[in-house]
Amino acid sequence: MNALVLIMRREIRLALRQIGESAIIVLFFVLAAVLFPFGVGPEPNMLARIAPGVVWVTALLAAMLSFERLFTPDFEDGSLEQLALGPAPLEMIALAKAAAHWLTTGLPLMIAAPLIAVLYRLPDAGYGALMTTMALGTPTISLIGTVGAALTLGSRRGGVLLSLLVIPLIVPVLIFGTAAIDAAIGGIPVRQHLMLMGGFLLGALVLTPLATAAALRQALE
């Protein structure tokens, strides 16, 4: 447990020293979302209609940019070897990495999401669901992303491969994330969507550290 905290502190400290990298992800999120009205036209009703989908899709794409940086620098400079040779099991390292990734990428995206929703004039009823689905969905994305990042570690052009691996796995998060916001706007109960997303998160919390650790072990051989 102590090791988990130490590794997370290291990750967060590194992220703060290179704050530009997190900032770029959020900036990409905002810019990509701002692009849509230029393509589909500025009609307010239409923008309000597509807002949940736009926020979620652009958040996913922005997160995709960040996964390559999860393990590659540590792998190249030997830090990953040292982490693996530390007293903490690799599963715990994987979990610490995912947690730190969420704090430095998922959380900023979550904070930026309502700003984009404002730009799109998301109906007031949707904000609660937007934040709840973000809170449940972004950690799931971080967890699944660590698996993808670990699997593509050491491969050339790993970034593209990573997206191909990760995107299909996070489609459920996208579907239920947007569905919950739409339901909230339409006045339909959102409970079942949120419970499914909670289920995904719990499942990912248990399964992804095992998968990530196995992939890292392979990469370090």
Binding site: L6, R17, Q18, D77, G78, S79, E81, P89, E221
Partner: protein, 215 residues
């Protein structure tokens, strides 16, 4: 406690690097690995560390095989490889703290480790401004900061000046005097007294295609 390996073989890529290798390290002793480039010194160190699994054979401490409890094995060793594991954005002290704290070191021990490797006074320099020799010394400071009984060193003196080589030598002597053990892969004579030498070429596999039957 004795650390040993029996009947070890290692396959890297499609090549059998060594086979039938046996070694044992006792407290207070040092094992020097020699052999030409590509003879498998680094591969053997990685096998010993547990990063690579031996293709055949097993590694064990006196109280049980390594595979039964890899975390316990890891807490007993300190590996300094070719890569320095330094972050350019962290200072010298922060870099060392990252690894030393993970192994349960105190701040006092970290400070004395920096001093032993001649890095006192440069604690606050960011990693990106360090020279190759300084990076190496910081990497070696991990050893001085930890209590791990087994040191696995891969060419520890590369890029070091004469004074630093002396520092490393006395570091190893001190460690051995305290009952520690060291396995050192090197191609230069480090001038360490009373060591056992293991020449990897003695365990080199015959130059045959081991996948022949498979294809």
């Amino acid at each position: 406690m004795r650390f040993f390996g029996e009947n070890l073989s290692c396959v890297r890529g499609e090549r059998l690097v060594f086979s039938g290798l046996e070694f044992a390290v006792d407290p207070g002793t040092a094992l020097v690995l020699t052999g030409s480039n590509g003879s498998g010194k680094t591969s053997l160190l990685r096998v010993m560390s547990g990063l690579t699994r031996p293709t055949v054979g097993h590694l064990a401490w006196q109280d049980g095989p390594v595979v039964d409890n890899p975390e316990c094995h890891h807490s007993r060793l300190n590996y300094v490889g070719h890569l320095d594991a330094l972050k350019p954005v962290l200072s010298v002290r922060e870099n060392l703290q990252t690894w030393a704290r993970l192994h349960g070191s105190t701040d006092k021990k970290i400070a004395s480790a920096l001093k032993k490797l001649g890095l006192e006074g440069s604690e606050n320099i960011p990693g990106r401004y360090l020279s190759t020799g300084q990076r190496r010394r910081l990497s070696l400071a991990r050893l001085a900061a930890s209590d791990a009984p087994l040191w696995l060193l891969d060419e520890p003196t590369i890029a070091l000046d004469a004074a630093s080589v002396d520092a490393v030598r006395s570091l190893i002597a001190e460690h051995r005097a305290a009952g520690g053990m060291a396995v050192i892969a090197t191609n230069v004579d480090l001038g360490i007294a009373d060591t056992t030498t293991l020449n990897l070429l003695d365990f080199a596999a015959a130059d045959e295609d081991i996948w022949e039957g498979v294809r």
